[in-house]
Amino acid sequence: MTVAAAAAPQADTTDEVVMSARNVAKSYGAVHALKGVNFDIHRGQVTTLFGENGAGKSTLMKILSGVIQPSSGEVWLDGRPVQFASTAEAQDHGVSIIHQELSLAPNLNVRDNIFLGREITGPGGIDYAEEERQTRLLMQELEEEIDPRTPVEQLRLGQQQLVEIARALSVNSRVLIMDEPTSALSASEVEVLFRVIRDLTARGVSIVYISHHLEEALRITDHAVVLRDGAMTANAPRAEIDLEWIVRHMVGRNFDLGTPPRGHEISGAALAIRNLTVIDPASGQTLVDDLSLDVATGEIVCLYGLMGAGRTELMECVAGRLTPAAGEVRLHGQPVQDLTIAERIRAGLALVPEDRQRDGLVQTMSVGRNLSLASIVDFTRGFLTSLRAERKIIDATIKSVTVKTDGPQAAITSLSGGNQQKVVIGKMLATDPTVLLLDEPSRGIDVGAKAEVFGLLAEKAKTGLAVLYSTSEVSECLSIAHRILVLRRGRITAEFTHETTKEAIMAASGEAVVE
């Protein structure tokens, strides 16, 4: 018996594997999101996937739940290979996913949401009474008193999450995948969720859990799987791991994203933010909380924070898109809060927004016209635009930010993500800013392009540009930034120099406290 246990620890019945990924790989064109991942989901246990943004967690979950199909490799369920053509098919096999963004119809009530697409019908149409009875049973199981007829939009976010779970349970899910379920929950709601998870596992449901909050995840997990750059780097049961182990395997060694530029003058506050407060008008939630920071001429400052920490709101408020509830923003000593976005750009303050497709590019225009969009005033003489002056600006910008394109007439949608990002950055650089804000400039671009973007910023800083960029990838903090500010719940919780560690930054952001 001792021999068997040592050779095969999964011989124990509670360690039975219900589902597994075997050599699963997924490529999007030349980008390898997953490079042959193997991992097991054990019956009645919680398996947590750890990894930085872009490590491939979501891709893996989408493959397991039938949202996308793997480029190669197999998914096994109950000892047999399976292929899910759709999420509906995965659900029929008992595999459900709860997405980070809830997929409930807010205008419908709880009952209708739970049975959406699988309505129970009788001779007189939908059998609402039966649906309602089942909904009540599900809610009792989850120990949450929610009336089945409450519209979902009236529920708190935590309750909405429970409705999603109830929906998954109503199809008798045996494997439940939860993608960042706690990111929007309060501490007490997290406790409720964890209690539900324990109830579920006690009933034999297997949970796959993804979270950025490492400590929280460690409390609930039975197995840990760590992904990095699309490959699995570590895999161990809870008893053998601690936070330090996870962080070590998560961050690993990284692509060299450069070092802070030196040998030029860094002085004077180019951008000064004082006691800035931003409140969400819809929810009344404080997004940026009495925040102050300075960026000097020639300095690169990195703002590190998780999703929802208030990075985007801070940047958009400084750029003039959001109105602050309190506080002031000064550009070279001049207050700018009464200026419009256009006036701020002319004063030298430019923002490269986070969501390239939504806020950065005009998809119907050519590469050249996107590049010149923010500097139209510079090539307008009186009433007329000068096409020659415009061409000069476009050509210079394409060269300086090294956009790979067929030419200024090419469609913007024909460029790769990295080159599109360079166009957005180039567009703002063409306005000759003295302060450049970049909200997650590395989002959705590959490592090579990332290094080029950072190289460009470092170069510009040497000529006196003040740069403030935000990121949620800790490895990017330790690249070109002279200073690193950690943002958590709208406040700056820590400040580091370039000589810090990834672990220290992550600890300050609330992701992990490493003993």
Binding site: P353, G360, L361, Q363, T364, I376, T385, Q409
Partner: protein
């Protein structure tokens, strides 16, 4: 995708004779080829179709729709829609007619007969004012363009009916002793044989082309229609652009109203009913995207000509007017289908 001529096309074009290139050319110039096909077909069916006089009559008729469509193009480029143009046309015609009858100022006990130039200016002001209301509703009060302009469609038509009690002003000639003659000049005068309405259309089209391709406003408009968020963050005054396009659309409707009532020598409150739909159809046939950001003046003009020449041709060969409606509808659907093929193809290249 404005059609600015560029001396150097970076993308190497497929050889001129390949079937792909021919299809591509046909697709891009579809409104133009459709017009050619229409003209050739009807000139073969009827000897009266391809004559200078018929061409001028047709073009004079097209001018009204083209004027509305040019204003509509600006609004559609911004990502909006202006359903009120038909009613504004009627309202402006009625306002002009009313002013020409003389305005009685009871407080002073006099009747004022404004000269024709003042009538024209005041009428244009009314059109611009209705447009400004639309623009403010859409840009600042966030009313969806469809609903806002649907509202002004009813209000403008209602006001026009109220002003005349449902009747029509039949005498727009004015009287020499009051110094307000000459209104018929707009509808009947010709310069080198070309009706004034056509000349106005050409002038407005040139002005619109200039506005769209050579001014920063034009660039702002394409950007705001293509992606309002990105435009705003790039410093484009998006709200001002929106208000301006509705004002310009109202102005175009006012010009069309003046020309039409002068051509008809009467101003009735029911004029221009459903013209907004024809204007939208012309813009769509001209290759503009209803989602905004794509479209050209030339395309829109061609779209208006396709509709006008098609219906006129059908009249000449004696096809029932019910069939005209069916044909126009088919042309609209077909052109939207081709639009989605053209833009879908471009997107899939990414």
């Amino acid at each position: 995708m404005t059609q600015t001529a560029s001396p150097s096309r970076p993308r190497s074009r497929p050889s001129a004779l390949s079937p792909y290139a021919v299809l591509d050319l046909l697709l891009r110039g579809r409104a133009f080829f459709a017009l050619i096909v229409i003209i050739i077909t009807f000139s073969m069916l009827s000897p009266r179709y391809l004559t200078v006089s018929n061409m001028l009559i047709m073009t004079n008729h097209v001018a009204i729709f083209a004027l509305l469509a040019l204003g509509m193009l600006l609004v559609i480029l911004s990502g909006g829609i202006d359903l009120s143009v038909g009613s504004v046309l009627a309202l402006c015609g009625v306002v002009a007619g009313w002013l020409l009858q003389g305005v009685e100022l009871t407080a002073f006990g006099v009747i004022v007969y404004p000269p024709v130039w003042a009538v024209v200016l005041m009428t244009l002001g009314v059109g611009a004012l209705v447009g400004a209301v639309n623009g403010v509703l859409v840009a600042y009060l966030k009313v969806p363009a469809f609903v806002a302009t649907l509202g002004t469609l009813y209000v403008a038509r209602g006001v026009a009916l109220l002003m005349t009690n449902g009747l029509t002003f039949n005498n727009l000639a004015g009287r020499p002793e009051y110094g307000n003659t000459g209104f018929e000049w707009l509808g009947f005068y010709r310069i080198w044989g070309v009706p004034i309405g056509v000349i106005i259309m050409v002038v407005v089209a040139l002005a619109a082309t200039f506005l769209l391709t050579r001014t920063s406003f034009g660039r702002w408009l394409y950007a705001a229609g293509g992606n309002m968020n990105a435009a705003e963050l790039s410093g484009v005054p998006v709200k001002r652009v929106q208000v301006t396009v509705y004002v310009l659309s109202g102005l175009c409707a006012a010009i069309a109203g003046l020309v039409l009532s002068s051509q008809l020598t009467s101003a009735g409150p029911t004029a221009g009913n459903t013209y907004e739909l024809t204007a939208i159809a012309a813009v769509v046939i001209g290759g503009a995207a209803l989602t905004g950001g794509r479209g050209t003046v030339l395309g829109t003009l061609l779209g208006a000509f396709v509709i006008g020449y098609l219906s006129n041709g059908l009249v000449i060969i004696g096809v029932s007017s019910y069939w005209q409606t069916v044909f126009t509808g088919a042309v609209i659907v077909l052109s939207v289908l081709l639009n989605s093929i053209q833009y879908g193809k471009r997107a899939s290249r990414s």
